[in-house]
Amino acid sequence: MKNRLKVLRAERDWTQANLADQLEVSRQTINAIEKGKFDPSLPLAFKAARLFKMPIEDIFQDEAMA
């Protein structure tokens, strides 16, 4: 699964640690998601969508559909 987390975070001038605190996960989790090593759970993806005030599909994209 591809995602735009790194771009969206950079637009807001947030560090990985800032985003991790807001999503209540570890910085390692944010790093692993950004690098595509780990796919977030649905609740975490929805939480990210609420935080960025965007539809979930604008943040996370299925690679098979891309």
Partner: protein
């Protein structure tokens, strides 16, 4: 080397997870202490009474149940990447221990090695679990 130290120290986990891990560790320590104390007092003559054995067994099982519940809570509320790492490490640990046990049994039946002590299996379980955790944390760092 820094990566390995960070992996062992579990650096960067949310405060909630550290608190739950500390609670689980206290229960694990209490369980290990109860096992050690019972093993120590079992050498005394007065420990042979069925009532004393039953009481210590109930205490040991009670602490063990508390340990399992604390570990379950720790896993349930854990950061989701760390949870995946923990589950991968548990799968590696259980799988490796079964393989060691079955291989050793074959050698034992053939009379090549002496009888297997259960403490060896606990040590294999602990070592492979720790190795799995460190490998997982380095992999996703």
């Amino acid at each position: 080397m820094g990566k390995i130290i960070d992996a062992i120290a579990c650096k960067g986990l949310p405060a909630r997870d550290i608190k739950n891990a500390n609670i689980a560790n206290l229960w694990i320590f209490a369980w290990a202490a109860s096992l050690g104390i019972i093993s120590y007092i079992s050498d005394y003559e007065w420990y042979s009474s069925i009532i004393t054995i039953t009481i210590t067994l109930i205490i040991h099982i009670g602490i063990g149940a508390g340990m399992m519940l604390a570990y379950r809570r720790f896993l349930k509320e854990l950061d989701e990447l760390e949870r995946k790492i923990q589950l991968d490490a548990l799968a590696f640990s259980v799988g490796s221990t079964i393989l060691v046990f079955s291989s050793y049994s074959i050698l034992e039946n053939a009379g090549i090695v002496p009888e297997l002590s259960p403490s060896i299996l606990i040590a294999v379980l602990a070592l492979t679990y720790s190795a799995g955790l460190i490998f997982g944390r380095i992999r996703y760092r």
